[in-house]
């Protein structure tokens, strides 16, 4: 039997009374006090998440930039040191191997942050393409996941909370940028990124120092309403913000164009793996499209439920839940491209019964005020 990996914060979660469950090969906290309470805390104050399960891969060397331009859909050449980019890694068919964040650490050095469950597959994929892209010797690929801990602090008060402990100034930091600094005296890489639709930070630390950082952030954040938040709240938050989740909205049988992520495909940079397939798809038009929908009739949509139009199946839900901030039920799913129109009335087959829903523009939830993104 394969045993589940434990993050450096495992004991903390148990002490906090978290409900633990397997996720992506790790045993992770699903919730502490309750998903709704944690969700609302992140929207109104701040939440702290253990995201140490995420994979971290260093790609460096003279050929690193060219190699990544070939492997990813985005163009990391457009990044300056200190900037972060969302990107996708595709296979020849245009299907998504993984979605990830690229950090430009230096001229020839990058950090890829990938999904926990895909990490080994990604490392193999990258290494497997070193030779085929002619970068056998000029690129070093190092899986540093085991030596890296990661904590996310998310919510409108996250800058204020982390600001108390961070050596560098956070106020002026742009969305999707990062700094190497100290948090509670510990060496850390801090980026203004996240997966909740709120302002927030992701903090990368040495694995052995993660617990101390967690404790210090918890202590500093308590007066401002910081609470530990689990994967349950992370999922409802990202769903409201309409962010794709690998294995749900993204997989090797869906392309970035179908998922509505063309803005992360750099057509101007030249060849990359999957380009031909994506170009063809763009020429011919996608057959299915990812949409967001809200329930008009009562019912909770779930991943896998059929989506219908006048009784005819037009697609399938990929995620769905009650959305605490919007106090309604909503979901995302793939439908035939011609049906992917905001305002279109559809039905969701909920446990043998049809319930009316409406396709709407995404994201469902937008942070009030917005923040400087640096990209768009």
């Amino acid at each position: 039997m394969v045993s589940l990996l434990k993050t450096p914060l495992y004991e903390r979660h148990v002490e906090l009374g978290a409900r633990m469950a397997g996720f992506g090969g790790w045993i992770m906290p699903i919730q502490y006090t309750g998903v709704l309470e944690e969700h609302r805390a992140v929207r109104s104050a701040a939440g702290i998440f253990d995201v140490s399960h995420m994979g971290e891969i260093r790609v460096s060397g003279k050929g690193a930039l060219f190699f990544l331009r070939k492997l990813l859909t985005s163009d990391p050449a457009s990044l300056e040191t200190g900037q972060v980019q969302y990107s996708l890694m595709c296979c020849e068919s245009g299907g998504v191997v993984d979605d990830l964040l690229v950090y430009r650490l230096g001229e020839e050095s990058f950090l890829l942050v990938v999904n926990a469950g895909n990490k080994d597959k990604d490392v193999d994929w990258l290494r497997g393409h070193q030779k085929t892209t002619g970068h056998g010797d000029s690129v070093e690929i190092r899986d540093i996941s085991a030596e890296t801990g990661q904590i996310a602090v998310q919510g409108p008060r996250s800058a204020e909370i982390l600001g108390k402990l961070c050596e560098a100034k956070l106020e002026g930091m742009r969305y999707y940028s990062f700094l190497k600094t100290r948090v509670a005296g510990l060496e850390a890489l801090v980026s203004r990124t996240g997966y909740t639709g709120e302002d927030g930070f992701e903090i990368y630390l040495r694995v052995g120092e993660t617990k101390e950082a967690w404790d210090r952030i918890m202590e500093a954040g308590k007066p401002a309403g910081l609470v530990p938040a689990g994967l349950g709240a992370r999922d409802t938050l990202r769903l409201e913000a309409s962010m794709p989740l690998y294995g749900h909205e993204l997989s090797q049988s869906t392309t970035p164009l179908e998922a509505g992520l063309e803005r992360f495909v750099s057509w101007g940079k030249g060849g990359f793996i999957g380009r031909e397939a994506l170009e063809q798809e763009k020429r011919e038009g996608v057959k299915k499209k990812l949409v967001g929908f809200v329930m008009v009739e009562r019912g909770v949509p779930r991943a896998g439920y059929e989506l219908l139009k006048m009784g005819r199946v037009i697609g399938k839900a990929t995620s769905g839940s009650y959305a605490p901030s919007l106090d309604g039920c909503l979901g995302m799913g793939y439908v035939q491209a011609q049906e992917a129109v905001a305002g279109n009335r559809i039905e969701v087959m909920i446990r043998g019964r049809w319930a009316a829903a409406e396709i709407v523009n995404r994201p469902f939830y937008k942070k009030k005020g917005g923040w400087s993104n640096g990209r768009e």
Binding site: I30, V35, G232, R298, V300, S321, Y322, C329, R351
Partner: protein, 126 residues
């Protein structure tokens, strides 16, 4: 009223019998295991149910669970408060979180006493 007057099913429903009427809900263990309840689906008043029929559905943030009828009979009332306040199932599973009232003709033969139900949970390591 103590909870000891209640009988339990192996599927974590409770039933409280008074004459030929019975109230049905889900147990404290069940609501705790489900997490935040966000939606409850209940039958129409007048519906006839057999023992073991799906009586309703409880949806938490993450999952949907069927609730099974612990008796044969007719639904005489449903707890409409749950439509707008499904969290009552979490807050007060044996009280305000009740789900249906039934006029019953037969009870399931394998209902458990509180001690038996507790023992069963313990046995399953719950």
């Amino acid at each position: 009223m103590g909870e000891s007057e209640l009988k339990y099913t192996r599927e974590h429903e409770w039933i409280k019998v008074e004459g030929t009427k019975a109230l049905v809900g889900i147990t404290d263990y069940a609501q705790e295991a489900l997490g935040d309840v966000v939606f409850v689906e209940l039958p129409e008043v007048g519906k006839e149910l057999e023992i073991g029929d799906v009586l309703g559905v409880v949806e938490s943030v993450k999952a949907a669970s069927d609730v099974y009828s612990p008796c044969r009979g007719k639904v005489t009332a449903v707890n409409e408060a749950l439509f707008n306040n499904p969290e009552l199932v979490n807050k007060d599973p044996y009280g305000d979180g009740w789900m249906v009232e039934m006029e019953f003709t037969e009870l399931a033969g394998d209902l458990l006493s509180e001690e038996q139900y507790e023992a069963r949970l313990a046995e399953e390591g719950k």
